[in-house]
């Protein structure tokens, strides 16, 4: 299986997030990395060092864009300047697909810069679908929506989160960036079985998978991206790969960032699951 139409039929392998503390290592040592994920907003600027760094990375590595402020579920329309700059960056990186979150975060032009959860209602499905379609049409590349970690649930919800996700992606005809750590975090915070979620996801639409670590608090867990991946999350990852086939996988590590080699080694742990699945698929094909 070499990807699907939601990731441009790319089988990229295992990537890591491009982060400033690693720049020197990357440019000095030129490590072999399957691909880098960039945060789009960090490069949606006119000029200067960040774009120079990006261009140097693009000369050597494959890059996929991941956004944090498109807010597909916000009721207010996206800022045209945001879309213009995003498309400009898409042309620069030639990203095979682009992802952002299934959430909201701005209202009436004011931004919280957070990934706020949506109520799982039919109204929210309709609003979100409309916006995903509009962004996808404007950017002219496949868009994948990522499930977020959440800490609050809404009394008005009319379906489960995975039902909501499936409704949105089917109607918008878009891909999924399946974050198995987010599923785990939300499952603890909302007291559901995370494996039920993974088993319910529209597997044929999964363009990419995120893995990450999180932080435990007394009464809830927070998606902090500052720890290694825990075993229960690897179990969810293994099941996701089993269902989706080998899928481009990205380790997120955004806070208390260790050295490059440590982050890369943590990401490469995903290889055993990908390899196992590839072997099983090959055997089944014989």
């Amino acid at each position: 299986m070499a990807g699907n139409r939601f990731n441009g039929y790319q089988d990229l392998g295992i990537g890591i997030g491009l982060r400033i503390p690693h720049y020197r290592h990357i440019f000095d040592k030129k490590p072999v990395v399957d691909w880098f994920e960039i945060i789009s907003e960090n490069f949606m600027i006119d000029a200067g060092r960040p774009l120079k760094v990006l261009d140097e990375i693009l000369e050597r590595y494959r890059v996929v864009q991941h956004g944090v402020s498109m807010y597909f579920g916000s009721v207010t329309a996206p800022d045209p300047e945001h879309l213009r700059r995003l498309k400009q960056l898409v042309r620069r990186t030639k990203t095979p697909w682009l992802s952002d979150h299934l959430c909201w975060g701005s209202v009436d032009g004011t931004y919280t810069h957070d990934l706020l959860p949506l109520p799982y209602t039919w109204e929210a499905v309709e609003r979100t679908v409309e916006r995903v379609r509009m962004v996808q049409d404007f950017l002219e590349i496949p868009v994948a929506v990522e499930n977020v970690s959440s800490y609050a649930a809404f009394s008005g919800s009319e379906m489960t989160e995975w039902e909501f996700l499936n409704e949105v992606v089917e109607r918008a005809d878009c891909g999924i960036l399946l974050d198995v750590n987010n599923i785990y975090v939300s499952s603890v915070n909302h007291e559901f079985d995370p494996m039920v979620y993974v088993n319910a996801v529209a597997a044929h639409r999964v363009a990419q998978i995120h893995i990450a670590g999180h932080s435990n608090y007394e009464k809830y867990i927070l998606d902090t991206h500052d720890h290694p991946v825990i075993d229960p999350v690897w179990d969810l990852y293994a099941r996701a790969i089993e269902r989706c086939g080998p899928t481009p996988t990205l380790l997120e590590w955004d806070d208390r960032i260790p050295g490059f080699d440590e982050v890369h080694a943590e990401a490469k742990k995903a290889e055993r699951y990908l390899t196992r699945q590839t072997v099983q698929l090959a055997e089944a094909a014989r």
């Binding site: 503390p21 690693h22 907003e41 949606m44 600027i45 006119d46 000029a47 200067g48 060092r49 960040p50 774009l51 120079k52 402020s69 579920g73 916000s74 009721v75 996206p78 800022d79 300047e81 945001h82 909201w104 701005s106 209202v107 009436d108 032009g109 004011t110 931004y111 919280t112 810069h113 957070d114 706020l116 949506l118 109520p119 209602t121 109204e123 929210a124 609003r127 800490y151 609050a152 649930a153 809404f154 009394s155 008005g156 919800s157 915070n189 909302h190 007291e191 009464k219 809830y220 927070l222 806070d255 208390r256 960032i257 260790p258 050295g259």
Partner: protein, 304 residues
């Protein structure tokens, strides 16, 4: 509750200032109990009430916003002190929440806001405003566009009627204090401390330090980018006024007239001065074609 109403209600709650011990306020600005507000759209679970679940987002919002401002204004934080900086940040963000998809623009109005709020700058309010202007100018100079500069031949062919542009990355400032060295020193120190903390280090405010006493002295400054680094360059007031006038779209002749208005520089010495400026501007690539889109800078005080 429809989606629009829910999002407005939740955003208002999330952006409400925290209490002194970083908790969510018990009462909304309209007097309603926050427990009732949260309960009107958030469901509790077996461990957390609706209030506690909403509070997680309220705390995250402020930690993120305050962290972002502190990252862009470390010298201002050092000048006013960590506690006063947090207080002024909360007041500023309450009045000017983010209106941009990117956190890069969060501090765009901070210097002007601080200038209008002397009660927030402490004993060294004027210095604090200058430091905020310099730090914001750094943000702008760091990633603003660099257009094709005028060639030497094009510069030589300019006349009094010519309209020319100034590179968008060039940021002009009229300050009350020569605060550029102070800001540079504090930024260097911050870089050193971050580097000593290693890759895994978290962004922590600088250690308390004794700042040098800076006497009030009118200073004209440009922040600009050469290659990929931001530099500061002090100027004479005539040069500053001329560049500001060019940026406002005046012809070269009118800009020079504005530049020398009230100047004590003898008339006979002015042509040599102007030639020196143009040599420097051409060398730095500051001049470019005038654009109809060329607008006065978004921040920074260009008028004395």
């Amino acid at each position: 509750m429809n989606l629009e109403t829910l999002q407005r209600a939740m955003a208002a709650a999330v952006m409400m200032p925290l209490t002194a011990d970083d908790a969510m306020a018990q009462t909304a600005p309209d007097g309603r109990a926050m427990e009732a507000v949260a309960g009107s759209f958030i469901a509790p679970n077996s461990r957390l009430t609706a209030f506690e679940r909403l509070e997680i987002y309220n705390r995250q919002y402020w930690f993120r916003m305050l962290g972002a401002l502190a990252e862009d204004f470390p010298a201002l934080q050092a000048v006013v002190g960590a506690r006063a900086f947090e207080a002024l940040s909360v007041a500023y963000l309450t009045e000017h929440p983010s209106r941009s998809f990117t956190l890069r623009n969060l501090g765009s109005k901070l210097a002007d806001w601080l200038a209008a709020h002397p009660e927030r700058g402490g004993r060294r309010h004027g210095l604090a405003v200058d430091v905020a202007r310099i730090e914001w100018a750094f943000v702008e100079a760091f990633d603003q566009e660099a257009l094709t500069p005028l060639t030497l031949d094009e510069v030589a062919a300019l006349s009094g009627d010519s309209r020319i542009g100034l590179q968008p990355h060039v940021q002009l400032m009229a300050l009350e204090h020569p605060a550029d060295d102070l800001v540079l020193g504090l930024h260097d120190r911050q870089k050193r401390e971050a580097s000593e903390a290693g890759v895994r280090g978290e962004a922590v405010p600088m250690e308390p330090m004794r700042l040098p006493r800076l006497r009030r002295r009118a200073t004209w400054l440009a922040a600009h980018r050469v290659e990929m680094s931001v530099y500061y360059r002090r100027m004479e007031p005539e040069e500053y006024r001329t560049l500001s006038a060019l940026r406002r779209g005046l012809t070269l002749g009118a800009a020079l007239e504005a530049g020398f208005e009230g100047s004590k520089l003898a008339e006979g010495r002015r042509p040599k001065k102007v030639r020196e400026w143009f040599a420097t501007w051409a060398e730095l690539g500051w001049l470019c074609r005038a654009s109809s889109e060329e607008q006065p800078q978004r921040t920074g005080r260009e008028d004395e």
